[in-house]
């Protein structure tokens, strides 16, 4: 029999370690994913809320993650139990659910994401369960659930949301949060950042794990606020690299 694949990201989080998760934003597709092996992200974020990843893409893309030892995570488009467990069935080991605004919505994520006795995920053997003995009893431990706190109403309801067990990461997403506070596009607005910082502290204070988009500029502040799950956007890396070459070439070569 085969062993169930370990959820590397989840394991690290519960060991108190940080997780860096590579977002497939501007660099995507199964053959692209496999070439991330040398930098070995702990997790890889496939984009199904806003991006083009759909059910048909999941087996190949999650296989590419599995083969390089990164935990495949999918952000789904809505808080729907059927969508959540079908994504798990097709190979995702982590699910990110956007716009979770109250306790009931958080409970819905757990119900769709976990088998009995925790939830009522539809009974089916996932790609991750092929040949695994006792898969249905083991799967919950290796399944990771992440919810996005990204509306001001969710911040208001945060205490009751934090009471829901089996959510591994409470992820503060400043883009939509800014919008819900009346500052669309101004993620770095002082008031938005204040709410983010306070929410991160509230999550840590309850002994829960928080996440956010990390970059060179904000990593120190996030770390000090207790963030353990860091989502990394590769687009600034590419922009910076290209710019560096171009600046040099312009000086050295262009007439």
């Amino acid at each position: 029999m085969m062993e169930l694949r370990q959820n590397i990201a989840k394991k690290r989080l519960y060991e108190g370690k940080t997780v860096t998760c590579f977002a497939l934003w501007g660099y995507a597709g199964s053959d692209h994913i496999e070439r991330l092996a040398p930098i070995k992200p702990h997790a890889i974020w496939m984009e199904g809320e806003h991006g083009n990843v759909d059910f048909g893409d999941l087996p190949n893309q999650t296989r590419a993650c599995d083969i390089i030892g990164s935990t495949p995570i999918l952000r789904v488009n809505q808080n729907d139990q059927g969508i959540i467990y079908r994504s798990l069935d097709l190979g995702a080991m982590g699910i990110v659910v956007p716009h979770v605004n109250n306790k009931e919505e958080a409970e819905n994520v757990v119900e769709g994401g976990k088998f009995y006795p925790i939830g009522k995920r539809g009974s089916f053997t996932s790609r991750q369960g092929i040949g695994v003995k006792d898969y249905h009893n083991l799967a919950n431990d290796q399944t990771m659930l992440i919810i996005l706190i990204e509306d001001i109403i969710a911040v208001d309801n945060l205490d009751s949301i934090l009471e829901v067990d089996n959510i591994d990461v409470f992820f503060l997403a400043s883009g939509d949060l800014a919008q819900s506070m009346g500052f669309p596009g101004q993620n770095d607005h002082k008031e938005v950042q204040k709410v983010v910082d306070e929410s991160l502290k509230r999550i840590s204070a309850k002994g829960k794990i928080s996440g956010a988009i990390g970059n060179k500029g904000n990593v120190k502040s996030l770390y000090e606020n207790g963030v353990k799950f860091y989502l990394c956007d590769p687009r600034p890396y590419m922009a910076e690299g290209f710019q560096k070459y171009q600046d040099f070439a312009q000086k050295a070569l262009d007439k």
Binding site: Y27, A239, G241, A249
Partner: protein
């Protein structure tokens, strides 16, 4: 409709450099790169996933953000070359050109008469373009790889072939034949690359080579003006830097 201008041919003509970006063989990733104003994307069909099924989508994405799409075909073969152009490539890159005859074949396949005998077909780039067959040659970029020792022996003859925009000195395959496999920045490999570029420039032609994070300053001082550069290099570096910053906290 007017034919789409070939941005990199124009840039080279103006004496500017060109950076061709590789590793982004995904149309959505290409389009998302738009804010950086790239001039060129390199779709990899010799070693990677660019093929007849995706060249249309890849080149459309590049066209929309006004970057010139180049496709590297697997080998110097007549039909393979113009098929990639038919599907939307505005530039063709051909590996392992070893002789004058190989170089002439590349030109014959890439250009319509009177320069060559490219198979007659209206490319994606020619849809609705009046006089496409007369205008296409001017907007078609041609690059050949000099990456075998035998090609270095034949270089003077190869450089006599007109209508090749860039002679690209490939350090990877040369490193293999020079006994330093994979060591693109080995001094002996760099010396051969530099000497070859110098010869190309001496004949009034344009040279290209690889610019990576470990050698881009060197590469950009060789006299070459066309560079193949990897998005992966930048991603590896940025992600590693972030992780190091985090680990030090």
């Amino acid at each position: 409709m007017k034919i789409r201008k070939n941005i990199i041919k124009q840039r080279l003509k103006e004496g500017k450099h060109v950076i061709a970006i590789e590793n982004l063989n995904d149309p959505n990733s290409v389009e998302l790169f738009a804010p950086n104003n790239p001039h060129c994307f390199w779709f990899e069909g010799e070693h990677w996933i660019a093929d007849v099924q995706n060249i249309g989508d890849l080149t459309r994405a590049a066209d929309l953000i006004e970057a010139t799409p180049i496709v590297r075909v697997p080998r110097p073969e007549y039909q393979l070359i113009y098929h990639a152009l038919d599907l939307g490539a505005q530039g063709i890159s051909v590996p392992h050109v070893k002789t004058k005859k190989d170089a002439e074949l590349v030109v014959r396949a890439s250009k319509f008469a009177p320069i060559g005998q490219r198979g007659m077909f209206t490319s994606r780039q020619g849809i609705g373009v009046e006089n496409y067959f007369k205008e296409a040659n001017d907007e078609t970029f041609v690059l050949v790889f000099i990456e075998d020792l035998i090609a270095l022996d034949n270089l003077d003859e190869i450089l006599e072939v007109d209508n090749i925009d860039v002679f690209f000195v490939g350090p990877g395959d040369l490193s293999q034949e020079l006994g330093h496999i994979g060591e693109q920045t080995h001094p002996e490999v760099q010396k051969v690359v530099q000497d070859t570029i110098t010869k190309i420039i001496a004949k009034g032609r344009t040279a290209g080579t690889v610019a990576s994070l470990s050698n881009y300053e060197w590469a950009m001082k060789t006299g070459a003006r066309f560079f193949l550069s990897g998005a992966l290099d930048w991603i590896y570096s940025g992600f590693t830097e972030f992780n190091q910053t985090l680990e030090q906290l």
